[in-house]
Symmetry: C2
Subunit: 160 residues, 2 copies
DNA sequence: CGTCCCGCTTACGTCAACGTCAAGGCATAA
DNA sequence: TTATGCCTTGACGTTGACGTAAGCGGGACG
């Protein structure tokens, strides 16, 4: 099935991409409005290519790390216009470097936040095990959590 | 000076905190509106304690990692009600664990985004060095960047 | 044949996180 | 005294990223 998806001539409907990546048709059309996607058309209907799908993956990940659609568009544009407008590109270069700095700090922040949440969890578990051990999560719940985590990564696995 | 800041009885005006953390008074009042901060008052004026300042640090970092003010409030609430409502805390525990999973994925996303931005930068630099080497950043600019980065971390150094 | 279900477009609504006035209080400086 | 400056509380405006509803066209199903 992963092989199916990888076949370059393969195309997708809007709904297929939406269900695959848990987006909405409205969102994809919005991205198109903003120039981040330009799917082909079959009559009126949008037809997304394998490349469009790859762009969508980049868009969604960009969003998750806090990039604006505007910034994401700049990155995407860089990918398909190998050339032209060297002046603008100098500007892009500066902005990208700045963004990298921001993201690196963001990663530090996330590490810190994870640490603190872990500490908070430990405190909570200790508190609960003393006062209300009945409310502590059971082995079954933990199992459930692991499965959820894997589900969350399913699209990433398909994406590479 | 760091010792000054650490003295627990030390208080802060709204503007002091704003300049220290590059926020605006409007933002701090907004956080108060939403229940994330509850500074004391001297007449009409807000008086922020050392603890308020610590909360603000958590708020700002929470924002940087993409938490909503709502979520940040939940975390903060957990910090000062060490007790009571064990049932609710069991719920908090679950939410925190989920949030940790989200953050871990987010860190992966950030690593990927940094990689891509770096690649994009390399391509841009190569492109520029061939066509418009005059537009390439100079050593002075790099110096400037490093200074900016250090400034950005000054508050963190004071904060810990 | 009607009626779902998709899909399309256009247009207005919404929500978070503030920004931006407006109108005024209190204090210090000229 | 007036002026300057920081603080206050509303109240309304803004921006980004969509949601939602209205209205139409086209296959598929019963």
């Amino acid at each position: 099935m992963a092989l199916e998806l990888r076949r370059p001539e393969r195309t997708f409907t809007i709904r297929q991409l939406c269900t695959e990546f848990k987006a909405t048709p409205r969102a994809l059309r919005f991205y198109e409005d903003k120039g981040l996607l330009t799917p082909a058309r079959d009559g009126m209907n949008r037809v997304y290519s394998y490349k469009d799908r790859a762009r969508l993956i980049l868009i969604l990940r960009g969003k998750r790390v806090g990039l604006s659609l505007q910034e994401i568009r700049e990155i995407l544009e860089l990918y398909d216009e190998g050339d032209e407008a060297a002046h603008q590109n100098a500007h892009s270069l500066k902005k990208f470097r700045e963004k990298i700095v921001v993201l690196e700090r963001q990663r530090e922040d996330i590490d810190g936040a994870i640490q603190e949440l872990n500490q908070a969890c430990e405190r909570l578990e200790k508190h609960l095990s003393e006062k209300r051990p009945d409310l502590l999560p059971k082995a079954a719940d933990y199992d459930q959590m692991l499965r959820a985590r894997l589900d969350g990564h399913a699209d990433l696995a398909l994406a590479k």
